[in-house]
């Protein structure tokens, strides 16, 4: 890497075209420009590091990069929620929880599970979104939020079963 020594006095470009000699024009910044950029960068670094060490997701973009940071024990159970629903055509279907299906992602529902269990009528919004996103399909009259549980033993999957979480309008199984 070739350096242009700072002793060469210039705060603007020294030429307007390509140079035949060994040096190419360099546009330099004045002291004030160097200063404010450095300060802003430093503040950004401090905020991001603070976010990683002490803060939570709500501080985005200064949040910890916690994707996959959580530990699943080698003998834990893995949970994955999905929707089961009965349509007005009396069919029972399984609906993966994705933005295309119900307007919201699975991880987002899982992030709000306590609220949904406390207030099952929140599931009616998913039925409404489904109807709006799939106008040609029969609407949903009963929804169940279910949990597909995969059991681990020493880090290997050894079994799977399905647990009910909550239902709406009838909170049955």
């Amino acid at each position: 890497m070739r350096f242009i020594p700072r002793a060469i006095p210039s705060t603007t470009e020294r030429s307007t075209g390509p140079e035949p000699g060994p040096e190419v024009a360099v546009r330099r910044l004045g002291a004030a420009s160097l200063a404010w950029r450095s300060v802003v960068l430093l503040i950004g670094v401090v905020l991001v590091v603070r976010g990683t060490l002490f803060r939570q997701d709500t501080d985005w973009p200064f949040a910890p990069m916690s994707q996959f940071a959580f530990r699943t024990g080698p003998n834990d159970a893995i949970h994955s929620t999905f929707l089961e629903a009965r349509t007005t055509a009396d069919q029972v279907i399984v609906i993966p929880i994705t933005p295309k299906q119900v307007g919201i992602a699975r991880a987002e529902i899982e992030g709000q599970l306590p609220n949904i269990v406390r207030k099952p009528s929140l599931l009616s919004d998913l039925a409404d979104s489904y109807r709006r996103l799939h106008p040609g399909k029969p609407p949903l009259e009963q929804l169940w939020l279910r949990d597909r549980v995969t059991d681990l033993y020493k880090g290997r999957a050894v079994g799977e079963h399905i647990d009910p979480i909550v239902g709406w309008p009838a909170n049955d199984r």
Binding site: M1, R2, I4, R6, P18, P20, G21, P22, V24, A25, V26, R27, L29, L34, R37, S38, L41, V45, V48, V49, T52, L53, D57, T58, W60, P61, A63, P64, M65, S66, Q67, F68, A69, F70, R71, T72, G73, P74, I78, S80, P99, K100, G103, I104, A105, E108, E110, G111, Q112, L122, D125, D128, S129, R132, L133, T150, L152, G155, R156, A157
Partner: protein, 318 residues
């Protein structure tokens, strides 16, 4: 080298021009095809809205279909204008506002993704530079700073992800079943195979955490090793995508800030020029009996070649 010299090391404006093209093209692909969640939140009931700090500070409302479409197509329009290279500060600023707000809408409904925070930095620093053309080989300290900021943000993504694993998962994270869980929940056919081969996912966790915590080393090695490390990270993302279809797309664009984009462009142009000259030579009847096709067309001015074929008048960019 003192920190200020490193931070503001001048970089050709051509590199900024090329990086801008990649960044604004990605913005268009991202909001139209890739990152759909924000879009669907326009239909979601406001009861699901859980404002982030940023939204409370700026009093950002719950998403509506109108807001979401404005942010989405506003990003596209501003990015298209930015791609023309005109009014880069204005168009760049508009793209920054609309795209960042669109991400906010995506994240304010219970799930924050962590692959897009560093892209925010790229969108914020690129408008600071002013006009930059692909043909402009003049070097600029403002451009140098912008690229360093992007590089730092890109590496911080890896380094701080490592620290987040230690904070939330503890040292035992390396021996945990986190990768197993990811593959069980969203694995591909390839990913599922790894569930059956013992120790692969476990070993992968050791390698990943080590690489993440050592990632800042990239700033202290020579150019060749730096490029190998960049290639290594790209390789890691290819493997992760093949296994669980998660790729940190915006971040992959950021990693381009380590590479001498204008040199790659020169080499590609030189290759094309040689190809077309060879085609001409081989089709010219006058040269048929000379067994043409071995002509070394010579290196065009402004290009750098690895062998250094007498191009002392061209400055190697840092």
């Amino acid at each position: 080298m003192n920190p200020l010299t490193w931070l503001f090391a001048p970089v050709p404006l051509a590199r900024v021009a090329l990086l801008r093209r990649a960044v604004y093209l990605f913005v268009i692909i991202d909001v139209v095809f890739l990152h759909a969640t924000g879009m669907y939140h326009g239909w979601a009931d406001p009861v699901w809205y859980k404002p982030l700090w940023m939204g409370r500070l700026l009093h950002l409302p719950a998403a509506s279909v109108l807001l979401v479409e404005l942010l989405r197509w506003g990003s596209v329009a501003a990015a298209l204008l930015a791609l023309t290279g005109r009014l880069p500060r204005l168009t760049g600023s508009v793209v920054a506002i609309t795209w960042i707000w669109f991400q906010y809408v995506a994240f304010a409904y219970g799930k924050v993704d962590h692959d897009r925070g560093d892209f925010v930095v790229a969108l914020l620093v690129l408008p600071m530079i002013g006009a930059a053309a692909v043909a402009d080989r003049r070097r600029s300290e403002a451009a140098g700073f912008a690229l360093r900021a992007i590089q730092l943000a890109a590496i911080a993504t890896y380094f701080l992800s490592g620290w987040a694993k230690l904070r939330f998962g503890g040292l035992e994270w390396v021996n945990s079943a986190t990768m197993v869980r990811a593959v069980v929940r969203r694995g591909t056919v390839l990913g599922d195979q790894l569930l059956h081969i013992p120790f692969t996912l476990h070993w992968f966790q050791w390698v990943l955490l080590t690489a993440e915590l050592l990632s800042p080393v990239i700033f202290f090695v020579g150019e060749r090793w730096r490029r190998r490390m960049v290639a290594g990270w790209y390789g890691f993302h290819v493997v992760t995508y093949a296994g669980i279809t998660i790729a940190f797309w915006p971040h992959l664009v950021m990693m381009l800030a380590f590479l001498p984009l204008e040199e790659y462009l020169d080499r590609w142009r030189a290759w094309r020029a040689r190809r077309s000259i060879l085609d001409d030579v081989s089709q010219d009847p006058a040269t048929q009996d000379v067994g043409g096709g071995t002509a070394q067309a010579g290196v065009l001015p402004g290009t750098t070649t690895e062998g250094g074929a007498g191009n002392e008048d061209v400055v190697k960019t840092p």
